[in-house]
């Protein structure tokens, strides 16, 4: 996705830009071809017009000749009309056409020559007409019969034919150019249209893809927001739980430490009282000592004083034990966890081996399911957790039957769930939360213990990103369900303490 997006964002706009440049080039080319077409058509038209005017010039000369001949033959003045008109027009015509002819590529020499020829012809015609007017008909005919007029006329015709050929050629060439330019114009317009479609398509595609990316990003953001809320909720729960535990912990510590302290103070007073009785007895002279004071003193020395000392000693030991246990728990809570891949079957086999002596003594057995999942967790913590649970299962076995402890497990959603199921004496419903509290124990207090093991187990399991729960039927057995993060590092990321 990331690679696709970067390639996409890099190449598609580049392609679109290249397309736009190409389109601009095509538009420019089209303009160029259109200009060429226009220019060519102008030139072709000019050539045709030039040809036309050259022909008009020829026609005027011919008209003049026809008019001259008519006059020579008939001698009637009315035949001279076209000659006079032609003579006037030819000069004008020539003036306007000669520049265009040179522009069309007809040489200066040819134009000059044509001009001289036309002048010669007009001169010849004027001469003959003049002779005729003077009545010298034979001389006029003789001039015509010299054929000089005919030769001039033939040469004019020849030049006109050449001009016709030249202008025709120019027209042909320009038409050719025009057709070519029109063809290229068509091609460039078609190419432009195709490119335009591609560009618009590309732009739409880009917009659609971009919109889709935005939608995906928006969704991802929404999901993250949701996840954040869930995580905040989780963290709040963790904090609330930690707070509750801290309250119950301080209550327990307060109560359990105060109890032996009261004993110490109480029996210190008792000690003082007994000491006072004995001191009073000792102060008396032997003859004033009666039976009652003697008995009281003996009671103080033999009973009260050793009893008080005993209680003081045991209370101090109890306080010492409690403080040590609290410190041990605190140390366990702050110990650096060491995440390593662990095979639970191997780990539990070691734990069972360390209990083997007690298992043999009581005839108990532990069955490890081969399907125990692999985890990445702290070895020592797991050994302490399962060591405590298995030890409890053996300790609180039902004396009427052999203890059989099944350990099985599954893995799901990143959590390993391990069941430690025994067929022991069970736990009454009201005790199922209390047993996890510090210094609390369930059922008849007929087995040694301080009520610390399960508090320790719970603290450890929670540090490993999970929790421990208990299911039990009184008199039938108990199952402790230990839920652990399959990878303790992920639990740390989630913000477990």
């Amino acid at each position: 996705m990331l690679i696709g997006r970067s390639v996409f964002t890099r190449f598609v706009p580049l392609l679109l830009f290249a397309g736009a440049v190409l389109l601009l080039a095509l538009v420019l080319a089209s303009l160029r071809f259109a200009t060429l077409t226009r220019q060519s058509s102008h030139e072709a038209l000019d050539a045709a017009r030039l040809n036309n005017r050259a022909m008009q010039l020829l026609t005027l000369v011919q008209d003049a000749e026809t008019s001259q001949r008519g006059y020579l033959i008939t001698g009637e003045e009315k035949y001279l009309g076209p000659f006079k008109r032609a003579q006037a027009l030819i000069a004008l015509h020539f003036l306007s056409v000669s520049g265009d002819m040179m522009k069309a590529g007809i040489s200066h020499v040819t134009v000059e020559r044509l001009k001289r020829l036309v002048d010669d012809k007009l001169g010849e015609m004027r001469d003959t007409i003049g002779l005729k007017k003077a009545g010298r008909d034979a001389e006029a005919i003789a001039v015509v019969q010299t054929d000089s007029g005919k030769r001039v006329m033939d040469e004019i015709r020849e030049i006109m034919t050449r001009i016709d050929a030249i202008t025709g050629n120019i027209g042909f060439q320009r038409e050719e150019t025009m057709a070519n330019a029109a063809k290229w114009l068509l091609i460039s317009i078609t190419g432009g249209a195709v490119l335009l479609v591609i560009l618009v398509g590309g732009a739409i595609f880009l917009a659609v893809v971009h919109a889709r990316q935005l939608e995906v990003a928006r969704q991802a953001l929404a999901e993250q927001n949701d996840m954040l809320e869930v995580r905040i909720k989780q963290r709040t729960q963790f904090l609330e739980r930690a707070n509750r535990e801290l309250q119950s912990y301080s209550y327990i510590v307060g109560h359990d430490l105060r109890a032996p302290l009261v004993n110490i103070m109480g029996f210190t007073s008792e000690l003082e009282r007994a000491a006072a009785i004995f001191a009073d007895y000792m102060k008396r002279s032997p003859d004033t000592r009666d039976d009652i004071t003697e008995k009281l003193a003996r009671e103080a020395v033999d009973g009260d004083i050793p009893e008080a000392l005993g209680f003081i000693r045991s209370s101090m030991k109890r306080m010492d034990d409690l403080i040590n246990e609290i410190l041990r728990l605190a140390r366990a809570g702050s110990r650096q966890l060491n995440a390593e891949p662990l095979n639970l079957v191997e780990l539990l086999s070691e734990t069972v081996a360390s209990l083997q002596h007690r298992l043999d003594e009581t005839g108990s057995s532990v069955v490890l399911s081969p399907g125990l999942p692999p985890v990445v967790s702290d070895r020592l913590a797991l050994q302490q957790i399962f060591g405590n649970l298995l030890d409890n299962a053996v300790k609180y076995a039902d004396p009427s039957r052999r203890a059989v402890i099944h350990v099985s497990g599954t893995i799901a959603n990143g959590f390993a769930v391990i069941d430690v199921a025994d067929n022991g004496r069970g736990i009454a419903e009201r005790d199922r939360e209390r047993i996890f509290e510090l210094f609390r124990r369930s059922g008849p207090q007929d087995r040694p213990g301080d009520g610390i093991g399960l508090a320790h187990v719970r603290a450890l399991v929670r540090r490993l990103g999970g929790d421990v729960a208990v299911k039990s039927v009184l008199g039938e057995g108990t199952t402790f369900v230990v839920t652990l993060a399959a990878d303790v590092r992920s639990a740390r990321d989630r913000g477990e303490p």
């Binding site: 109560h255 105060r258 109890a259 032996p260 103070m265 045991s314 005790d431």
Partner: protein, 148 residues
């Protein structure tokens, strides 16, 4: 405090032996001479109180008084209180809660469950002695119902 043929028996449920001994000594100093039956665990006390049939019929006709600590290793004093109040024969015997806790919530719950008196054990020994002796004086004058 003697009532007819059956003097009141004080059932003391207290897991701390030192406390039990100090309470007994100070009650005696107040002049109480009644039998005191001590129990260290809730289960032992309940099996004695409720008897084999679980109804408390064993103690029928005897005046009983319970001195109850709330923090026991195997169950809470409130569990015992609730069981006593639920039983057929013991439901109106006198129960005095004597414990180190003075948390108002706990005090409330105990009275809700039917405790007759709630005494917080003071932490200073002088006050502790004083409280126990006052309790002893109270026991001397109070009239206790018999187990019905």
């Amino acid at each position: 405090m003697n009532q007819g043929l059956h003097p009141v028996v004080i059932i003391m449920i207290e897991d701390d032996q030192g406390h039990a001994r100090l309470i007994e000594k100070n009650i005696r100093r107040a002049g109480v001479t009644n039998d005191i039956v001590p129990f260290e665990t809730g289960l032992a006390a309940l099996s004695y109180l409720l008897g084999p049939d679980g109804s408390g019929k064993v103690h029928e006709g005897k005046p009983l008084l319970i001195l109850l600590d709330l923090n026991l290793p195997d169950m809470t004093g409130m569990d015992i209180l609730a069981r006593v109040r639920e039983s057929t024969h013991l439901h109106h015997i006198m129960v005095i809660v004597l414990t180190t806790t003075d948390d108002p919530v706990e005090v409330h719950r105990c009275y809700d469950l039917g405790a007759n008196v709630y005494v917080a054990k003071p932490m200073e020994y002088e006050k502790f002695v004083n409280a126990i002796q006052q309790l002893g004086l109270f026991l001397l004058v109070v009239t206790v119902p018999e187990v019905s």
